[in-house]
């Protein structure tokens, strides 16, 4: 237990180990710790952000869904309107067509009726002449009595 040069040796050894620790051990370790702290902090804030993003996305999805539903309802509404419109159009068209056909038929009937009347009228004259001939027993000159006959026919 004498104080001797061991003390100096120990002091030098001490200096060497402290130097080594300062150069090669402490800086990398403390850097790793600091970096990990930063990484964890970043990770936590990223998680927070992700949560916020998720919330936002959910809100957006809900809004979009609502909008889509509204649009669908509008489209259906429009379709309903359009279909009733089409039906109305078709109905009116059909009515017009019916009217037109009816009118054409009436016109034709009238025409036919007139023609028949004319024919009848012409024939009535002939029959009247023939009747008169029978009654008079002589022939009637159609030429001479045409005024009378026409008058008769016109009265029919």
């Amino acid at each position: 237990m004498n104080i001797n040069a061991t003390m100096i040796g120990q002091m030098l050894t001490f200096v060497v180990f402290v130097w080594f620790c300062m150069k090669f051990i402490w800086p990398p370790l403390i850097n790793v710790l600091a970096e990990r702290t930063k990484k964890i902090a970043d990770g936590l804030s990223a998680a927070d952000r992700a949560e916020q993003d998720l919330e936002l996305a959910q809100e957006k999805a809900v809004a979009q869904l609502k909008e889509a539903k509204q649009q669908a309802a509008e489209i259906i509404d429009q379709a309903h309107k359009r279909s009733s419109q089409l039906i109305d159009e078709a109905k009116s068209q059909a009515r017009e067509e019916g009217d037109r056909l009816l009118k054409a038929a009436q016109a034709e009937i009238e025409q036919e009726f007139n023609r028949a009347r004319e024919e009848l009228r012409a024939k009535v004259a002939a029959i009247a002449v023939a009747g008169a001939e029978k009654v008079l027993g002589a022939s009637v000159d159609a030429q001479a009595h045409s005024v009378l006959l026409d008058k008769l026919a016109a009265e029919l």
Partner: protein
Amino acid sequence: MATEALTTKGYITHHLTNLTFGQHPDGTWGFAHSAQEAGEMGFWAFNVDTLGFSVLLGVVFSLIFWRTARKATTGAPTGLQNFVEWVVEFIDTSVKDIFHSRNVLIAPLALTIFVWIFLMNLMDLVPVDLIPHAAQLAGVHFLKVVPTTDPNATLGMAFGVFLLILFYSVKIKGLGGFLGELTLHPFGKWMLPFNLFLEGVNLISKPVSLGLRLFGNLYAGEMIFILIALMYSGGLVLGLFGGVLQWAWAVFHILIILLQAFIFMVLTIVYLSMAHESSH
């Protein structure tokens, strides 16, 4: 136990003697064969066991921490890296709590002091006879395995810290400021010699108390282990009792060796912190 050390006194003395290498009085260099011879070698002698074990343990510390530091990743740490980071973080917190100036030396210094001294103290838990006896079989007469039971080791480190205190005191406060702190307080310039005496004692007591506290604790602990080991030669009952005592003391000693390493570290940080801040 050597042939010369069969007596109780011889056994104890043997355990407390360092393996000293130095110059014999007749001028030749060699190992001392007794405590007395070692004393006669004067200052220029080396305790080979103290230096050897402290260097070995320092290398163990450096290698373990260096390898871990090189391979350290910022991902989830496992195994050794976990442990090393825990120690580093503990030291870093302690330093930040006590030391408020900026100095890149302090934290690595504290780490080295803490782990190195802890490892040196840890050698105390190796059964007292194991390594010395093995060394004796290999032909080495004396071997003290706990470097911190050698005042040379503890005072060596303490004076290393002392030099740092002086260096930073002068660097931060300037030579004038440091001398002023030594001479002009606490009683003003008319009491200069008295102030110098007070502050000088204050300054010198720092390394001395630092080194001797560690030495005293570990030396006493080692001594108790040696005394307990003596009981093994006292028959079966006393031997068993000794075994129980040794176990109990070892458990208690775990606390002491950690605490002493921590105290040495904290006081170093405190002293250097005082060197960085002007106290008056």
